[in-house]
């Protein structure tokens, strides 16, 4: 049996129900490939994504987390993604401040019509995270060797 040593990162994608989840469906409908490492969790709106979810994902072994929502101004709930945008900006900045690699987190606005963008974003994100390798830093942050 062939052993594949290539690192396959675990990626969690939070997608809002109204735009990005539909965008992900569309990339499926159009048979646009992206790596199987990406697993999507459906949330009603990007503003439902609690920083705790992201940290929890990293804690449980995720190597990258991406949040997708409607484009600013197009939120199904009018304002949800604006709040998400501020929250994620601050959280990402904090992770960077702690020395965690910037590439492991990302926010992308994907509309229901942007199946191609969804697939392209995922391909790109997986590539970035693959280059970064396994997520060790958050785990080891407290263990001074």
């Amino acid at each position: 049996m062939q052993v594949n040593n290539e690192f396959k990162p675990t990626i969690v994608a939070f997608c809002c129900n109204w735009c990005s989840y539909a965008g992900a469906d569309l990339s499926g409908t159009n048979r646009l490939n992206y790596p199987a490492n990406v697993k999507i969790i459906r949330v009603p709106c990007s503003c439902r994504v609690n920083p705790m979810f992201i940290l929890r994902a990293f804690q449980r072994g995720a190597d990258g987390v991406i949040i997708c929502g409607c484009h600013p101004g197009d939120c199904h709930y009018t304002t949800g993604n604006y709040y998400a945008r501020r929250r994620m900006t601050l959280l990402f900045s904090m992770l960077d401040y702690l020395g965690i690699e910037k590439g492991r987190t990302r926010v992308e606005w994907v509309s229901a019509a942007e199946g191609a963008k969804f697939a392209a974003t995922m391909n790109e994100f997986v590539e970035t995270v693959t280059k970064l390798g396994e997520n060790k830093r958050l785990e080891d942050l407290r263990c001074k060797n």
């Binding site: 675990t10 969690v12 129900n17 989840y21 539909a22 992900a24 469906d25 569309l26 990339s27 499926g28 409908t29 048979r31 646009l32 490939n33 992206y34 199987a36 697993k39 999507i40 969790i41 459906r42 949330v43 009603p44 709106c45 503003c47 439902r48 994504v49 609690n50 920083p51 705790m52 979810f53 929890r56 994902a57 449980r60 072994g61 995720a62 197009d74 199904h76 709930y77 009018t78 304002t79 949800g80 709040y83 929250r87 697939a119």
Partner: protein, 662 residues
Amino acid sequence: MQRIGVFVCWCGTNIAATVDVKAVAEALGKEPGVVFATDYQYMCSQAGQDMIRDAIQEHNLGGVVICSCSPRMHETTFRKTAEKAGLNPYMVEIANIREQCSWIHKDMPTATEKAIILGRAAIAKVHLNAPLTAGESPVTKRALVIGGGIAGIQTALDIADAGFPVDIVEKKPTIGGKMTQIDKTFPTLDCAACILTPKMVEAAQNENIRIFSYSEVDSVKGFVGNFHATIRRKARYVKEDVCTGCGLCTEKCPQKKVPNEFNLGLDNRRAIYIPFAQAVPKVATIDPNYCTMLKSGKCGVCAKVCTAGAIDYKQKDELIEEDYGAIVVATGFNPIKLDHYDEYAYSQSPDVVTSLEFERLMNAAGPTAGTLLRPSDGEHPHTLVFVQCVGSRETRDCGKPYCSKICCMYTAKHAMLCREKYPDTEVYVFYIDVRTPGKNFDEFYRRAVEEYGVHYIKGMVGKVVPENGKLKVQASDLLSNEQIHIDADMVILAAAIEPDESARSIATMLTASMDTNDFFTEAHPKLRPVESPTAGIFLSGVCQGPKDIPETVAQAGAAASKVIGLLAKDHLMCNPCVAEANELMCNGCSSCEKVCPYGAITYSDKEFPGPNRTRVLRRVASVNPAVCQGCGACTVACPSGAMDLKGFSTSQIMAEVDAICK
């Protein structure tokens, strides 16, 4: 732990060609709590649904996971299936193994592995699902329309036609709005009064419609289906039910020098007045700012001449309380003030007028009885210059950044009417762009140019100088790259339009959102254009954005149909996936309320058991499930985690995260 059944769909070959469905069913069958797992060619078919129903009953399933296409496709189908089998529909979760798995991966082992993980996540979530029941709230079968212009009237008529009572609240003494001041309507040039006044009368006579003219909405409380409004009927010092509208008082009143707002101050009215002949209701109103009797207690002429005895100088504002199921905002617009555009000499010469003033000057019921005369000297004007985009598409503070949309068409109309009635006139229109998207609109504009010989000049007017009875117009002609000078008799400014100044306070009252220009925002700009994001609030007419009469009427009808759809229900089924505050953990800090786009969260002081059998009073949040739309913004704003979202709870999402990252 739930007893869970897993159903893996082949979707013909759509899934089965890339995902080893049997392996998936087998693997998921071993997950904790799963007591039944199977696969089938088409789960959504009748046979597939029967299979699910039977399994639920046979295995006494408490939760169902269906590995199939996107939940956006068949979630409702499978929820109904579960309900038929006696299971709460919200105990069903879908693992999307088609759009998000089989269709995007080519390699079977990879796709199968991913399908199993997605199935696991769904199982983990369903373990934490709780049966949800959609709440119900009653609906008051009465609508409130704020604003009695053409938008408000049309909405009210349509709602009333469907058999529901409607109240129109209009702040002016008569309904009719801006359209009453318009002479002719584009692109057909029929007379505005001829098509509007029958509708006004119809509204007055419709037994389902009550008109509160000269009234304002003081406050609104409640939520969709259950609004409670206080309406202030301002004192008009005339008993509305007694006044016959004979108009004698308006002829005898000695106070003659009151600027007539109906004619935009181009002539005068009395202190007691009926705005115009076809006013609805046709009753007199005393203007307290000018009435000598009200100001100094001396006069009383109107009371003496009124044979009906309708005058009541002691009348007070009256407050009316009423319940409504739906509210329609139809507050309309005004042209902007031109204080900062005096390069056009608006305040220096009476012959420089706004387009709305020009309407009055062309109108048979206007100050000149329909003959176009220069306001300064009553002479017939020969050269007219129209300036478009005065204040529209401006990023300066005094202007508006948006296109006012109606000006190109009414200017073409004015120019055309002018040339038609007075062929001896020269008419110039200065434009930046001519925007005429609409049925028969561009043809209309072209007619002005081709048939009526209106001079359309691409460029702007820079300065108007009144001199020796003429208006010296200095402008640019961009196509010939020249500065041109025209000695005009009249200059007509197409002033930008802006939402009525009452809109902002009404929006606050209704917790309806507005954009930076004070236009109401729609629930969705394309798909829900007549609804406000706040449930039960609907938008009609220019309050939502600039529009012409046909569009306004269309939107009014659309808003009415939405209202009818709402009022036709006895109860509102609420989306059960709404936020819920755990009172024991709530700090009452108001963080959630600040981010709620719907105003669904309120606070109250409640007693809770404290230590040593004491009682502690605490401020806690509660969510109105009828208003909450379930976005979840509050759940993240809440520092204590007291706020959670049913159907997408923190623990459910965390369980999914865990299952995926394992």
